[in-house]
Symmetry: C2
């Protein structure tokens, strides 16, 4: 029996193989992009400034993160396991590498897209999209490669599967993602808010005007925030979603009379059953299928009609989703045929996740696009001034959390019930939970193409900026604007998708945490009952955490934007001839880049360190309190994150709607009010909202990794003092 199982485990090698294929294809796309014409000298110079700024920021960020990562690795090595520390470092390094590569290509694709836009929509779309997909494939391939290799060595082929070690990889991914998102988010919005408030409102010059010293920092921000930060975010969700079901499968294999394994005999692990090894390997295969599906989907994206860009992008995503669903169904069917479980039900779990993700994305679009009522109402409210614009926006944003939350809980229920149908019996709960964790994979398996669509946006945005700054003909800007507008909507949809997947991933990780604890210290030594006062205290602390986190990140943007405002005002005042546009007079863009860089690095530290250390501190006190905290953070964080992302997106588009000539159009009182909402929305949608998204996963992953420590402490030190 054991031999046949071992040979089944060999299937896991399909995952690194798919990852290598993905990387090869990413390399092909990257070289293709870099081969394109980068445009005239002025454009190349502007693009060069953006490249330098982005590189300088990322390198400074990585230096800081390296120190942080080494400290954490030492703690992990001592408190948990040296291999966990090593896995942690690889998780972090691959995240950094993916972010850097994506940023490298994106900051070179911008000028090439601008140049190609002179020849129409189709060639420009092709460059921007291929640049985005490079990022998407790198993110997915690096994530899958890392997790599959660690899993093969320590989870699947080893005599004694050791989940702690693989969890370390996920924690590396998470903690780097948190800093990348928070730092990138602060960087991009400090530059954006500062440049807009002084340039557009005070000085009355257009967006991306070359006289504005903050414009380069703004364009750099698009890359470090929306490309590198967003990529790290989804890399982390992707890794977490693959990991959680594997952990659960392994944990079940340890249980007596489990259909997954032979449990512990004389304290040592005997082996998996066929169903057990398949359950542990399947998540890798589903993810591998997603990479193939994404590569095929790419070829469906092509159009020269500006009104059909969104359709073309969606066509690629839907094609990939369709292929992936077919692959998943096939894999489940094979599993059902060879094993003893009703494995086709797991397909139901995954479909529920995928449908929920797409549905939440659609609802995000409803609440944030100006084709629909909510944004139109915000635009209308702007007529009575900034206050009513803000009140209506906040109210609409809060309301927009209702449907996604209901969809999420329905998906959880369906995934759970489907799971219990696959296994059932006394293990019904475990199979149900395994189903929930699979639903996160259903959502995230096509991460490569969803990241691709998302990362395409900043390239189009940057291309527009370069076209404006380089003084390219009007029709070039029109083409890049068409690409950019679609990018905003797809970005909003992708954000909804990311939040939904974060909710499911965090939930799956939480259940893994609980399973590990119960296995390690005995269910009877835990008090996970919701009327345990310490657990309730944890829920309060958990519910608080997203608010604390948003306060920090919003405050950081506020402080950094203020420094930026002072600097831009100073330059307009002191550099003679700058505002008049005298030839040869150039703004000191490097000063603004420096302000954003320093602010982002300084301000990301405290929230990041709190997020990583709080679960450890609470867990050392009492694991039940930690369980409460995780669930509290999940609940309030999920809702808060949707609220902030949607409110910000809606304000942005209410302004754009007015700019199409409604309610008095550009320059009207309504427009001025809408600009206030848009500015408030900037940190909402691009700093705080997405950061919470990672927060809820980081606290879960850190808790999971530190389980062995909590177990060694007997479930926390609090009971030593209080009994």
């Amino acid at each position: 029996m054991f031999e046949s199982v071992d040979s089944t485990g060999v299937l896991a090698w399909a995952a690194p193989a798919a990852a290598v294929l993905g990387m090869a294809f990413a390399a092909y796309l990257a070289f293709w992009v870099l081969k394109q014409d980068p445009g005239n000298e002025r454009m190349q110079k502007l693009s060069g400034l953006i490249q330098q700024g982005a590189k300088a920021f990322l390198f400074a960020e990585y230096r800081l993160l390296a120190i942080f990562a080494v400290i954490v690795a030492v703690i992990l090595g001592v408190a948990i396991n040296p291999f966990t520390a090593l896995a942690y470092l690889t998780g972090g390094i691959l995240s950094v590498a993916a972010g850097f590569i994506g940023m490298y290509v994106a900051t070179r694709a911008n000028t090439r897209t601008a140049h190609a836009a002179a020849g129409g929509i189709a060639p420009a779309l092709k460059i921007a999209y291929r640049s985005g997909l490079t990022m998407g494939l790198v993110v997915a391939s690096f994530g899958l490669l890392g997790i599959s290799l660690w899993a093969i060595f320590f989870l699947i082929t080893a005599q004694h599967p050791d989940p702690e070690i693989v969890n370390g990889f996920a924690m590396g991914a998470s903690s780097i993602a948190l800093f990348a998102r928070v730092g990138g988010g602060i960087y991009t919005k400090a530059a954006d808010v500062g440049a807009d408030l002084v340039g557009k409102i005070e000085a009355g010059i257009p967006e991306d005007d070359p006289r504005n010293p903050g414009v380069i920092a703004d364009n750099v921000g698009d890359n470090v925030g929306d490309v590198a930060g967003m990529g790290a975010d989804l890399y982390e969700s992707y890794v977490g979603s693959i990991l959680a079901p594997m952990i659960l499968a392994v944990a079940m294999a340890f249980m007596a009379d489990s259909p997954m394994g032979y449990g512990l005999v004389n304290g040592s692990f005997v082996g998996f059953t066929l169903d057990g090894i398949v359950a542990a390997v399947m998540p890798l295969l589903f993810a591998a299928g997603g990479i193939l599906a994404s590569i095929i989907g790419l070829f469906a994206v092509n159009t020269s009609d500006p009104s059909k860009i969104a359709k073309a992008l969606n066509r690629g995503t839907y094609l990939a989703a369709g292929i992936e669903l077919t692959l998943i169904a096939t894999l489940c069917f094979v599993w059902q045929s060879v094993g003893k479980l009703n494995a086709m039900w797991f397909f139901g779990s995954m479909v529920s996740g995928l449908i929920a993700g797409l549905a939440i994305g659609k609802i995000t679009e409803y609440y944030t696009s100006y084709s629909h009522k909510p944004v139109k109402k915000i635009a209308l409210a702007s007529e009575a001034g900034a206050a009513t614009n803000i009140i209506e926006g906040l109210s609409s944003g809060m309301l927009s959390t209702v449907a996604p939350t209901i969809i999420l809980v329905c998906a959880v229920a369906v995934a759970y019930i489907s799971g219990t149908q696959a296994g059932g019996g006394e293990f019904a709960l475990q199979f149900g939970v395994y189903g929930i964790s699979l639903s996160a994979i259903g959502m995230l398996s096509i991460t490569a193409i969803t990241v691709g669509v998302d990362a395409y946006g900043p390239v189009a945005d940057n291309a527009g900026g370069i076209a404006e700054m380089a003084g390219l003909p009007h029709e070039v800007r029109e083409n890049t604007d068409a690409l950019d507008t679609v990018g905003n909507t797809t970005a909003a949809v992708a954000k909804g998708f990311a939040i939904a997947s974060a909710g499911l991933t965090a939930l799956a990780l939480f259940v893994s945490f609980k399973t590990n604890l119960a296995a390690g210290m005995g269910e009877e030594n835990l008090n996970f009952s919701i009327d345990n006062p310490y657990l309730i205290i944890g829920i309060f602390i958990g519910a608080l955490l997203p608010f604390f986190f948003s306060a920090m990140t919003m405050g950081a943007v506020s402080r950094a934007a203020n420094a930026m405002i002072i600097e831009i005002r100073r330059q307009f005042r002191e550099i003679k001839g700058l505002l008049a546009g005298d030839p040869g007079v150039e703004p000191d863009t490097a000063a603004c880049v420096r302000i954003s860089t320093n602010a982002a690095l300084r301000e990301m530290l405290l929230p990041g360190i709190v997020a990583v250390s709080l679960p450890i501190i609470i867990g050392i006190l009492d694991v039940n309190m930690l369980a409460g905290m995780l669930v509290g953070t999940m609940g309030s964080g999920f809702v808060m994150s949707i609220y902030m992302a949607n409110t910000g997106g809606a304000w942005d588009n209410a302004k754009k709607y007015i700019e199409t000539g409604m309610h008095g159009g550009k320059g009207s009182e309504a427009h001025k009010a809408a600009v206030v909402g848009d500015t408030v929305g900037d940190p909402f949608k691009d700093t705080s909202g997405p950061s919470i998204n990672i927060l809820i996963k980081v606290v879960a992953v850190v808790s999971l990794v530190f389980c062995p420590l909590f177990i060694r402490l007997g479930g926390g030190l609090l009971h030593l003092f209080l009994g």
Copy 2:
């Protein structure tokens, strides 16, 4: 043994006695206020308009609530128990009566305060404060009278104590409070926002200018929102906090080998032990003591120095708190002497609650008063415009949730640990939880005087409005302004207190809910473990609820304010000579009163019905999911409520700070930006924030009352379909 217990139960009659004393003293205060000189004819006319408006609104509201209450009573009578339905109606009627009496006195005290202000601070303060305390005493006395009579008949003296019935009284209090708060909050802010936006910003006329048609509605709003609404809110917290420990004591008496009672013999209740009857009676005695302490505290409030008003008010509160602490300590000491428990530890539980309440109030002051850094930073941020004012305000408001939450959880921990020291053994958890419920009483026992301080504010505010509209001399307005400014701060502190007490009360009610369920259907048939997927689904729904609720209430204010804006603009346009101030030309204030009234009644229905019915629906599906929902609402609601109340208060005072001449003073760009923040803050602090406060208690009380139904359904229908 049983006889001695019965005679101990007689002590409970001290509660209705204290309530009657409180009512008598309230009557004395009311007649004293009404005896004062109401001022000249013009003032009496203005006051009359406010009285009519407030009466009209409250009567319309009560008509609607009567229909609602009868429907709910019928449901309760059928699904639970006819006595529960009757208790429900009395709880509601007493709430309505308290609100009406408070409003009746307050709307007559306003013109008397304005008139007395001509003679200095001291006489004006006396009238306003005595009017406030009338409300405070009525609220506390009605609450204590109702709950003590129902408790004496059905909880303490009956052979088979029947908590269901007493719970009905609390539910009546809660559901009326919810509508009163939401309706009153929408009313007052629709009028305030509308009158300010058109009057102050568009037409440039001062606040409370008699030409503004919205001003009467605004002043009516102060009474129906801040007097009647706030009173109903604290009435409900007060009732809930007294009820929860009584329920827990009775539930413990039913358990086998309990130190509280002899458990069930042959299915029928034998009786309480001495400790049991004392534990059930004590909450009533603590509350009775609080009424006496409040009456004594009143006499300490007297000053003629405008800079010492806050000190004088605080002196009264601190004196009352000191007396009450002494009484509580004495009662606990007596209990410890006669019973077998270490009852002095319960004093620790109550002190922790009281200290937490005062500390959270102080922190609220720190974040909302312009003597401190947070508000000054918001004022500074206003220099760069409305957007930075909003961002800084939101960020500061979110940050302001951290310390109160930490204080609350510390108070919970201390109260719990103290409780376990009082009892311990195998009942340690129950005694700890009893301790937590006592901490809410510690906070709320001096409700009479805290409501008094709070209800004094709107009277001073109204007095200022009447002084302005009646054209009284400048120094009168100066005196009323001095009283009003202090009222704003004390109101903010009281709001912090109310939120803190809501958190503890909801927690105590939740534990009672859980205890009742476990007693009714057996602990083993519940799955309250935090990894139960249905319970997690409940937590998500619970975390969502405050966001949905805020979306509804913010949206309602936005819609109603818009209607108000259109009407005021119309009057300024169509009524010739109105804006010019031609003699004899008067605005149509009744039209604005109508708009606010109708909007408030229409918009309060949906959120109110959702809040009352959602727990029933979820509980019918699955009680574990309901438990999750309650905790989710508690966690996210507590934080959200502090966030909204503090953000709104801070924006208000940032504007006032600028009006003292900072950052350019009135009329500067910074001031305009601060007005935007202030306007957004209006529904934050006076509609949505306080409504969430009640929401978290309503869902808990409704769940508690419907326990018998859920038990009859075997814990919910979901498991029938899913197994």
